[in-house]
């Protein structure tokens, strides 16, 4: 069982806050560099240089912000739920800290997605908001994130807080397929997905490439923010340990 042994070794390594802090310190400049290299050109290309849409004109450009935020809102939630599950099952402190760090960042991207959607909806649909299945399930996702943060803050003991909020995160996973497929299962005002994995996307390549670059950039930014927030969490939770005191005194 050498594979299992190496997984166990990795688990103990990544489970150590000190090891995480050192490794993430080395990764930070890479994430920062990648974010600068992808996010800035992606957004500028999309907002400034991609051609206009034949029907919507310039207002469609909000997809270069809206679609990446929506993707991170959902991807971030999956990460938070998986980290919570690992924290609950294996009592891994590091996983609990990652889940806690993701919550406010994921909530912010969800909020950004809802706001940009409303701003686009007014000129395109003629309304800021409708209670259709896609918009409502996305709002539920924001409430799930807020509930997670509220539970974390309501419970003093970090281990109990992680367990209670972790169960909420896991239960909330059921909302993700609902968000994704709401536009196919029900009649909604929101249009179906433009980017498709299994078939060709319903968007011209001149708009697709800046969109993909922008999505990559948003993910790099998300990774960077999660690393920074997790490092803060490590320092807070391990403040009594020798290495943190040495780190802070440096």
């Amino acid at each position: 069982m050498s594979l299992w042994d190496s997984i166990t070794r990795l688990y103990h390594k990544f489970g150590s806050p000190k090891y995480f802090y050192e490794l993430s310190g080395k990764l930070l400049p890479w994430f920062l560099g990648l974010t600068v290299l992808t996010l800035i050109p992606g957004v500028i290309w999309g907002l400034g240089f991609a051609p206009i849409d034949e029907e919507q004109g310039h207002s469609y450009r909000i997809i270069f912000i809206h679609v990446p935020s929506a993707s991170i809102a959902m991807g971030g939630y999956v990460m938070m739920a998986v980290a919570s599950a690992i924290g609950i099952i294996w009592k891994m402190k590091m996983a609990e800290m990652v889940a806690k760090a993701i919550a406010p960042i994921g909530a912010s991207f969800t909020f950004l997605c809802l706001v940009t959607g409303a701003i686009w909806g007014k000129p395109t649909w003629n309304t800021w908001w409708v209670w259709d299945a896609r918009l409502t399930s996305m709002l539920v996702l924001l409430f799930l994130y807020i509930g997670f943060i509220a539970l974390q803050n309501a419970i003093e003991n970090p281990a109990s807080a992680a367990k209670a909020s972790g169960i909420l995160a896991i239960v909330g996973v059921v909302n993700l397929p609902i968000i994704k497929y709401s536009v196919n299962w029900w009649n909604t005002l929101h249009q179906p997905a433009t980017l498709k994995i299994t078939e060709s996307s319903a968007i011209d390549p001149s708009m697709l490439y800046p969109l993909l670059l922008s999505i990559t950039g948003f993910y790099c930014l998300f990774g960077l923010l999660v690393l920074l927030a997790t490092r803060n969490e490590v320092l807070t939770r391990e403040q009594r340990s020798r290495w943190v005191q040495q780190e802070v005194m440096k």
Partner: protein
């Protein structure tokens, strides 16, 4: 894996399965109510209640827009099977045009006419620059094919 961890793993898998089944059952039970609008086929089958605020959605039929005095107008929407005529007196969204998907909020009156209070434009998932659309039309294909 030690028994305690295994137990916790199964509890979590149990929660996820249970909640998924519950959500699926709620989804099936509410299927019709979660739909934002009635299709013209549903309207033709008389599924829409009379006198209640409902939404009707479909594609605006080419050549069906009749403008009356002021802002009043009527147009047909279709789901490619049935048609519903919508009467409206108000400002249409910029994206309103023949062939475009729209959703109208309004009521079916006693005489069977659907009178809208608000018309929303539904956008499709396709994005293309105007030159690409021209090229497609010149090649003799309808939009998006």
């Amino acid at each position: 894996m030690n028994p305690k961890r295994k137990q916790r793993l199964f509890i979590i898998l149990g929660i996820v399965t249970g909640v998924s089944i519950a959500a699926a059952m709620i989804g099936v039970a509410l299927k019709e109510n979660i739909n934002l609008f009635f299709t013209p086929s549903q309207m033709a089958a008389g599924e829409a209640p009379v006198g209640k605020s409902i939404r009707v959605g479909g594609l605006v039929v080419e050549g069906s827009v009749n403008r009356g005095d002021g802002l009043t107008l009527s147009f047909d929407v279709t789901d490619k099977a049935e048609k519903t005529t919508i009467y409206f007196d108000g400002i249409l969204p910029d994206l309103f045009r023949e062939g475009q998907g729209i959703i109208a909020l309004g009521k079916v009156e006693d005489n069977g006419r659907f009178v809208a209070e608000e018309v929303l434009a539904k956008h499709d998932e396709e994005y293309m620059p105007p030159e690409v659309k021209d090229a497609i039309e010149k090649a003799g294909h309808p939009k998006g094919v």
